[in-house]
Symmetry: C2
Subunit: 471 residues, 2 copies
Amino acid sequence: MTNNTPPWDEEYDVVIIGSGFAGLSAAIEAKQAGAKTIVLEKMRIPGGNSAISGGLLAVANSELQRQEGIIDSPELMLDDMMQAGMQLNHKELARMVAEQSATVLNWTIDTLGVKYKESLNHLGGHSVPRTYITDTSTGSGIIQPLLAKCRELEITVQMKTMLNQLLSDTTGRIDGVEVRCDYLFPQQDSGQLKRIRARKAVIMATGGFGRDINFRMTQDPRLDKSIDSTNQMGATAEGLLSALRVGATPIHLSWIQLGPWASFHEKGWGVGSMFTLLAGFPYGIMVDANTGKRFVNELSDRKLRTDAMLYHDRIPVAIVDSLGVIKATTLDKCLKQGVVKAFSSIEELAAADNIPLPALRETLERYHLSLARGRDGEFGKQLSNDLKPIENPPFYSIRLLPKVHHCMGGVQINERAQVLSISNQQPIPGLYAAGEITGGIHGSSRLGSNAIVDCLVFGRIAGQQAAVEQL
Amino acid sequence: MTNNTPPWDEEYDVVIIGSGFAGLSAAIEAKQAGAKTIVLEKMRIPGGNSAISGGLLAVANSELQRQEGIIDSPELMLDDMMQAGMQLNHKELARMVAEQSATVLNWTIDTLGVKYKESLNHLGGHSVPRTYITDTSTGSGIIQPLLAKCRELEITVQMKTMLNQLLSDTTGRIDGVEVRCDYLFPQQDSGQLKRIRARKAVIMATGGFGRDINFRMTQDPRLDKSIDSTNQMGATAEGLLSALRVGATPIHLSWIQLGPWASFHEKGWGVGSMFTLLAGFPYGIMVDANTGKRFVNELSDRKLRTDAMLYHDRIPVAIVDSLGVIKATTLDKCLKQGVVKAFSSIEELAAADNIPLPALRETLERYHLSLARGRDGEFGKQLSNDLKPIENPPFYSIRLLPKVHHCMGGVQINERAQVLSISNQQPIPGLYAAGEITGGIHGSSRLGSNAIVDCLVFGRIAGQQAAVEQL
């Protein structure tokens, strides 16, 4: 602090911005390593996007894979990540996510007491089923145990506290934050300014900018206000911008992912996304209602799917039958809200969704032939052993609409979660980051269920490293 | 200036960093508008990448198009830019390039006395032939007249002067630069520090970072030192980083373009690139030497072509005959340096390049059939009326290798070439940018011959606007 600057209002060792998976796991590790730690969250409730996510974790070499006889490895998971990411991934960081996925799963079970369902899911772009899901089918199933652990460790998680700017000392070390307390999102000037010292480090865990229409349009002008997002309203860019203003290196900002599974008939993430993720895509088919034909591998990477859905004026509809919805945890809500419709026959479904019936029948026949052969010659969908022909009523359909879901880009970090300076590619002293605010790990496209693992792996590393930051 | 800062060593109204197309055209406009102007260039000679470029300008609705009966419009050129750019382009800026292309061409002829060849070229990704080429077939054919105009207007273009940092006053306005004079590239600490005041504005015209291996790898880890570049050695990132450090908004940094036309048998841009651009691709075909087959539209966008060339272990070879090389200005040099080889028959060519002869013969027959039909059913190449069968010896071949060529990404500007702040998307007072340091105009992929037009259009705007910057 120079002579002219005002005194600190509060002092901690480690100050964490954001209370999602990355922020809370960082807080737990920092506190357990002996650091006086606080978590600051701008919204009224904790958890951010993490809390409303699907609670899906991709894990290589897991206990459930052993039980189900599925052969997997961190190398295979890394290959899947690199292929989806168009090889733009920072490979050494991606490798850490794959290699530590099993460890971090066990941490959530052993240390946090998180509960998972007993069977795996096969998500798009993954070579094998490797995705755990919390027993509540939401990220809240991990956020609540993280918050409980924070209470147990007496870590304050302070709501309605907005980061205004990162502060640095005369040597360039980040030594605190200026925040607005009693901030009422989204009223920019609400609350009172306070200066909070971070004796060791600040950890940025502020998430992505999927709801920041102005900023996302600088990177991809197509993503204007007409495009919906699955994110919570607080997924805005100001945390990222604060980091860039102190010299963080921006990476891959223009790679903004749309999710292929959200419903046309509701706003945001809604209840339909999980239905499509767990039933419509793995156990059903997606057709263009104009033609009745499939047009893309329903389990391919998200970018391939959303590109295919957005072009050619397609009307994407996923179709599945009663055997395919067994894992669809949100089915009842979907039916109640009209997001998914049920029909006693394919004829009825085709009539209701305006799909040409002969073409749809032919599409189903071809798909069933592929199932019989064990190989989808047309689109290369990975056909699990438990797939059955779509012929058991009731039949279900969901009309889909791609929505902004995840920001692959962000600030560059190293293996210690230190933020790298644009000036010299060296760590900015006192500044760490983890989770969706970071860029590079997923390259051009993040695979489904890889975000939570990423957040937990690098959140924990950031907390551990920040606690022992050399001054 | 605050009390603590040292006095200025020199004072100007407008300080321009970089002496390529953008910098020199900015200088001419600023000086003509009455501003005391200086151009600072870090290298020993002026012109940067501009001087070694091919001297190609895409112009919509040009005099040569009227003479040749080619129907074109700024709208069509804009459509081509947006399609190549995957619609990521900042459309309002791209539109300005297309709409002002004819005006800026006339400016180079009327004001600078630039001379062009009398016929148009058809470059990849353009719907119609619209590309002018200087009579020397290099960018030097424009750089030399720009330098002559600067001398006439008594604008100093000062070599060996390296930007160290942008300086700002207490309000955040950019008010000057710290530079190293007598700088000897690439010795980072050479030269003496000086502070040069910019009473009205600084214009960043520092080009791309295609030769900056460290920085380009942060954005695309594949582009390591094993990948060559067509750029001059001074195409490094420090100018861009200086702008980002004062809060410029980064756009599309991970979109780095490789050029598909450079030779496998020489370093850098060399003499082969222009041969492929003017003969091999428009008048010949490209085959994979492993198979003897074509694999991509030789006139498609650069990204499509380089992706196709890099995958599947292809050995790309372009083949053209004596009628096809009429516009190939570098043919003699290519033959002398062994970059292009000449053969009296297709049999000899196939033997020398290890191409299976029956497959190559079949490929040629199919291509000639397409010419007869006027339609390339296989790859959709636009077949101009002047294309003839490849059957007139001597035959020529060139083995190709994609090389880093252009950085689509950079800082965000508005229609006045003002650099926009990451904090609020408003102009940073006193800071302008033009040319390859800017991002957004070309989206994910710049079309060939669109860079010079972009540099000249926004260079001139930056100079005009900087000269009347309101203090």
